[in-house]
């Protein structure tokens, strides 16, 4: 067989990560299999001719009206009916039940979005709801007005009334305040905060609580972290040696600040894609933050060992993350072929590719930083060029001078005949050479503050790469936004620029059908656990349709009209009766929003809450991560950078890597920093329990919490009550206090028996009680 069959080097990296073909095939296969079952087993009663109970299953529209919730088999009544053991409930009511395999196929079909055979085959992608302009919707009329407290509720109540349901009542004030605190700042309320809220009986107590939390710096730390999931924030580059990027935390802080300042979302978008261009067009006091904002682009994944090795994949990451994060589009597919479902063409992909190929990315180091002594490059000064240039020029001259010096001395050494003299000269040269290397490796003058950011490079239009392969360039694609949304005209790029600014402005335009909807959906998702569109980074044909399309549009219109204010949106949402409902006892997912969904705390909230309750949380903003000095860096793929910096700061400030994940955070589903994450998983695994029962972290925190309880009061029942209130945010019942007393007594007795002194046993008993509270379901779940 010929050699050419074996792509030598990078080639089959086209190993595309994108088998849309497979997807299409499987999906239509699934659709037709499911349809066959429905046809054979259900249509005789719920089909085109007969509609028992006014219910039919013979079109996607009818099926998804109530019994099928696309993407969520667990919540779909159809599945419950098929599985039910209740003779009143089970379907079909007579005859043979569906086999397990058949039910599981129906389940998979629903989870795959319940595609309908015809609609999958002939879907008209131009008609897709998400590409259309937002509707000018008005809140609908509802029968029951008493429950409503905001226009949001009209939409939700209207949908519920369609199925003869209604919003649930308002949750207890304690539950509400705890929920609010976690939602807005990612922390439980302190005892004092809760007390002060409960004792405030004024009309607007809740609104003022919302304002207070939104004004807290902890708000940005919470919501900034949600954003960091999307922009695959990491403190390292992701190359084979995973080089650290000390400067990138400026971007993290920029994100947190932006949320705290309630920066209009359109500005936030533009700055992250093109802040450097805005900044250099009009240098002012925002210069630094605008440059820093482009960390979004700079943080694109790096590969392998050389600078910018596999650059086409780095740009692929930029395009993919841009598409998912801002537009809910999966653009990556079009690297190798036109998108199989969405009307995204390769021409669109390479139109965007040219924009980023006209952009200079920074190089933070990789194996060749070590093996070839390459300097870091492309870091952007956070001062306008006229101020930074002086320093840059001095740095260049200094390096050149040192270079010259080293070269001259080297020549002298070579010319020298006297061995002893030669040795002495070499010894003298060594420190000069080291000094040169240190200076050069930094890549910028040490006194100049720089950002891990991008800058415009020479503008080019890039050829389409056939099969996504750099070795197969085809025709040139003009730089522009995707045609199906932006029209035929290429971007009107002003001046010798990359086009990032024009792309950003097009994305951030109030008339872009996707941008506002995608962000509103994300904010809703973080208040309710799920967005209206479950696939919150995929609004395309394969994404799921919104559960409340009108409400999504209404909120998106409000969002834009209120100056893209995220905080205004929070107020709208948490002020609604929908958000303030009681949670359902069963914890079942309710897409119609007739109750509030119970949720487990996320990784950051778990750690921060435990530290807070133990009074060990340091709520200050930390200094830089303690990375070693840049001139000492030496990492290779054989000895990659990997470390964990312990701290008691909020989890948003923990150092995160791409090649290895933080041991605590990974345990509780914090995202992989290599790719944009829209929805986190929510796992329950025994390793979490091992950590909570046995880790030294939990020992320390439960001991600290125990000390707090013992200091709180001399009275045992008061201590127990205080422990319960501090973790469960409700008063302890007399039974619970009795049981606590009993527990402490038994534990103490047993501990003394095991050889502890009385005071030691006392402390151990409280630590154990504290650990039980901190690991309980009531602490971990939010009602």
């Amino acid at each position: 067989m010929a050699n050419s069959h074996f792509p030598l080097f990078v080639t089959a990296v086209a190993v595309a990560i994108c088998p849309c073909a497979l997807q299409a095939e499987e999906k239509s296969e699934l659709a037709s299999q499911a349809w066959t079952i429905l046809h054979e087993r259900c249509y005789s009663c719920h089909g085109p001719k007969v509609q028992e109970a006014d219910f039919r299953l013979d079109s996607r529209k009818a099926a998804t009206h109530s019994a099928v919730i696309p993407g969520n088999s667990q919540a779909s009544e159809l599945i419950h009916r098929l599985k039910s053991n209740d003779p009143e409930q089970v379907m079909p009511p007579q005859g043979e039940r569906l086999s397990e395999d058949e039910i599981s196929l129906i389940g998979r079909w629903i989870d795959a979005g319940a595609p309908w055979p015809e609609s999958t085959a002939h879907v008209s992608s131009e008609d897709h709801w998400a590409w259309k302009r937002r509707q000018d919707v008005k809140p609908p009329d509802t029968v029951n007005l008493s429950l409503l407290s905001s226009p949001v509720d009209s939409f939700v109540q209207h949908t519920l009334e369609n199925v003869k349901r209604s919003l649930s009542g308002e949750a207890d004030r304690r539950i509400l305040y705890r929920r609010l605190s976690f939602d807005l700042v990612g922390l439980p309320p302190t005892h004092a905060e809760m007390e002060s809220y409960l004792s405030d009986h004024s009309e607007d107590a809740f609104e003022r609580a919302v304002d207070r939390l939104l004004a807290s710096p902890a708000y940005g730390e919470r919501w900034g972290r949600h954003w960091m999931d999307l922009v695959r924030y990491s403190d390292t580059a992701g190359d084979n040696a995973d080089y650290p990027i000390p400067e990138v935390q400026r971007y993290r802080d920029y994100i947190i600040d932006s949320f705290n300042k309630d920066k209009p979302y359109d500005t936030f978008v533009i700055e992250q894609l093109a802040g450097d261009i805005v900044a250099s067009n009009q240098p002012d006091e925002h210069f630094a933050e605008r440059v820093v904002a482009t960390g979004f682009v700079a943080l694109s994944r790096r590969y392998a060992t050389a600078p910018f090795e596999l650059m086409h994949l780095t740009i692929e990451d930029t395009i993919d993350t841009t598409g998912r994060t801002f537009l809910g589009l999966t653009l990556r597919c079009a690297r190798c072929h036109d998108h199989k479902f969405d009307p995204i063409t390769m021409d669109d992909y390479y139109g965007l590719y040219g924009i980023f190929a006209s952009t200079r990315y920074p190089y933070a180091g990789s194996e060749e930083f070590q093996s070839k002594n390459l300097p870091r490059t492309g870091f952007v000064p956070i001062l306008p060029p006229d101020q930074a240039n002086l320093s840059l020029e001095a740095y260049r001259q200094k390096i050149a001078g040192l270079d010259e010096d080293v070269a001259r001395r080297q020549k002298e050494i070579e010319a020298c005949k006297d061995e002893q003299q030669k040795k002495r000269m070499e010894t003298e040269l060594a420190p000069v050479r080291t000094a040169l290397n240190r200076q050069r490796r930094l890549g910028s003058p040490p006194e100049l503050d720089v950002a891990y950011a991008v800058w415009d490079d020479k503008p080019i239009d890039h050829p389409i790469l056939q099969h996504g392969e750099p070795s197969e360039p085809g025709v040139v694609a003009r730089r522009r936004a995707p045609k199906f949304l932006a029209g035929d005209e290429p971007l009107a790029i002003s001046g010798p620029h990359s086009g990032r600014l024009e792309l950003a402005e097009w994305i951030a335009s109030p008339t872009n059908p996707l941008t506002a909807r995608v962000m509103v959906n994300r904010i809703w998702q973080h208040h309710f656990g799920q967005g209206f569109v479950r696939t919150s980074s995929n609004f395309g044909i394969l994404g799921q349709p919104p559960t409340h399309p009108d409400l999504l549009d209404w909120l998106s219109n409000e969002f834009v009209e209120q100056g893209w204010s995220v905080k205004a949106l929070h107020r709208l949402i948490v002020g609604s009766a929908t958000w303030r409902q009681t949670s359902d006892p069963t914890g079942l997912d309710d897409p119609l929003l007739g109750r509030y969904p119970r949720r487990r705390l996320d990784a950051e909230s778990i750690r921060d809450s435990i530290l807070l309750v133990a009074q060990n949380l340091d709520q200050r903003i930390p200094e830089r991560h303690p990375f070693p000095d840049i001139s000492d860096w030496h990492w290779t793929q054989h000895n990659p950078f990997k470390t964990v910096f312990p701290s008691q700061y909020r989890s948003v400030y923990l150092m995160r890597q791409r090649i290895q994940r933080h041991p605590f955070l990974v345990l509780f589903d914090a995202p992989d920093a290599n790719v944009s994450t829209d929805v986190r998983t929510n796992s329950i695994v025994p390793q979490q329990a091992l950590f909570l029962m046995n880790s030294s972290f939990m020992q320390e925190q439960s001991t600290a919490f125990a000390t707090r309880l013992m200091q709180f009061s001399a009275e045992e029942p008061d201590r127990i009550a205080h422990g319960i209130e501090s973790t469960w945010f409700r008063p302890a019942t007399p039974d619970e206090i009795m049981r606590g007393l009993d527990y402490l007594r038994r534990f103490r007795r047993e501990a003394v028996r095991s050889g502890l002194s009385e005071p030691e046993a006392e402390r151990a008993a409280y630590s154990s009680f504290a650990r039980v509270l901190l690991t309980s379901n009531e602490f971990f779940y939010l009602d």
Binding site: V15, P19, H638, N694, R739
Partner: protein, 458 residues
């Protein structure tokens, strides 16, 4: 007390749960098929039920191990139009004859080099694939590819896919255990579950005294630990009373029971001193050794008996491995470490009647160049266009080879087997159709073999 896999299966079948550390709760859940790790049905009748993957880090040389090339010796030192690590490194390089002697072994006459005197004794159990190839010739990317099918973006590992597709037999142990003293290239990404639910993630056992993180209770006594456990159960019951039917709450409570099961059985499982000295010396475990690949291989057998679905052994980390750029003699100490334990693992499983139900896959990330790494060197560079991996067990008839390379070992001339094909074959042997084991994520279905993969005939 440990149970053989068969005993486990019969236990499962009988619905019994009296054995060591099996939590009644999870066991009951498993009976109903409710536990996410409960064994699942295969696509077709499997040839093996469990997998031991032995990954030899750094890229062992195919032409010095299982793919003899007399022509290399004959033309030793002659320049060859070599293709190196990167295109710009393509240049003429002198061919390098193997410094090792090859011999035909067993009844089958399988060729094995002097590096593996012990593997020679089980030659008739080895199925040698001489036509492996991969895409990117960097350790990091190739290691990731061998584990996840993807050389670039991290995706779920083969063990995670097996856990997701097949579940496991012992609910008290992770379904995918990784025995690795040192972190390999690409770190923990190689056993990550990525977008698959984290329960399928490989759990790294650090050979040594603390094999699983936080598995030791800090409690002063069992009684105190049990008191605390009971208190936690009780407060979770109070909480659940007003929230009936919330399965997440129940599952989270159950995960503590499962963790306690693990705490109970772990010390026993990881203590090899209760193995006979005949067995220990058979693997080559010295007294007190808890880190060597010999210990890892014995542990793999014990975990097989415990019903773990996938066990992966990683013999060395991202340095001090098979990456012999300077001198092929550096393969000697690496082979010496691995040879006897791997051969013994095969023999040990066989004598226990387990080898037919266990697939052993011995692999590496890529091969090494038939020419030297530098004009005067004695080592070899990385090579993606041809390398050799092994399979054993699973009722595969051994003593055979599949695929072939040219006279220098530089190109595949027969039956190429891409990494995707290797994965497809492994899944196939375990009863899975690799095209049907999919997971829906980020808007589409993913699988281990992407859109590729052909099962090789066995």
């Amino acid at each position: 007390m440990t149970l053989s896999r068969r005993q486990w299966l019969s236990l499962l079948a009988a619905g019994g749960c009296s054995s060591v550390g099996v939590s009644p709760l999870l066991f009951a859940a498993e009976q109903k098929g409710a536990h996410v790790l409960a064994p699942k049905r295969t696509h077709h009748s499997p040839r093996a039920r469990q997998l031991v993957m032995i990954f030899l880090t750094g890229g062992y040389s195919h032409v010095d191990t299982f793919d003899p090339k007399p022509a290399l010796k004959a033309k030793h030192g002659e320049p060859f139009p070599a293709v190196g690590l990167r295109p710009e490194e393509a240049r003429k390089q002198p061919l390098l004859g193997s410094p090792f002697e090859f011999e035909q072994c067993g009844e089958s006459g399988l060729w094995i080099s002097e590096l593996f005197p012990h593997l020679k004794t089980v030659a008739d159990d080895l199925f040698v694939i001489r036509s492996m190839h991969t895409d990117i010739v960097e350790h990091f990317q190739a290691t990731l590819a061998m584990h996840t099918g993807s050389a670039t973006i991290p995706l779920p590992s083969v063990g995670a896919w097996l856990s997701y597709g097949l579940g496991t037999y012992n609910p008290n142990l992770p379904s995918y255990v990784v025995l690795a003293e040192h972190l390999p290239y690409a770190g923990s990404q190689v056993w990550d579950s990525n977008f698959l639910p984290p329960i399928h993630q490989g759990v790294r056992i650090l050979p040594g005294n603390d094999p699983i993180a936080d598995v030791k209770s800090p409690a002063l006594s069992m009684t105190l630990a049990e008191l605390e456990a009971e208190m936690l159960r009780e407060v979770n019951r109070w909480h659940a009373q007003t929230r009936p039917g919330d399965e997440n709450l129940l599952a989270r409570s159950a995960s503590f029971e499962s963790a306690r099961g693990l705490m109970e059985i772990a010390p026993d499982i990881f203590d090899v001193t209760n193995e006979s000295s005949f067995i220990r010396s058979g693997y080559g475990i010295a007294d007190g050794d808890t880190t060597s690949i010999a210990w890892q291989c014995l542990m793999a057998r014990r975990l097989i008996e415990q019903g773990v679905r996938t066990i992966e052994i990683i013999d060395s980390g991202s340095s001090n491995n098979w990456d012999a750029h300077g001198n092929m003699d550096d393969h000697r100490p690496m082979a010496k470490r691995a040879d006897q334990p791997i051969a013994m693992l095969i023999r040990d499983l066989k004598q226990r009647g387990l080898l037919d139900d266990v697939l052993i896959a011995v692999c590496t990330e890529f091969g090494r160049t038939p020419w030297t790494d530098s004009p005067t060197g004695k080592g070899r560079n990385h090579y993606a266009k041809a390398f050799t991996c092994l399979l054993a067990g699973a009722g595969i008839e051994g003593g055979r080879t599949y695929g072939a390379t040219d006279e220098f070992g530089s190109s595949i001339i027969e039956n190429p087997c891409h990494v995707h094909d290797y994965h497809a074959t492994i899944l196939n042997l375990l009863g899975i159709d690799h095209t049907r084991l999919t997971y829906h994520f980020a808007g589409r279905n993913y699988r281990l073999t992407d859109v590729y993969g052909n099962v090789i005939p066995l």
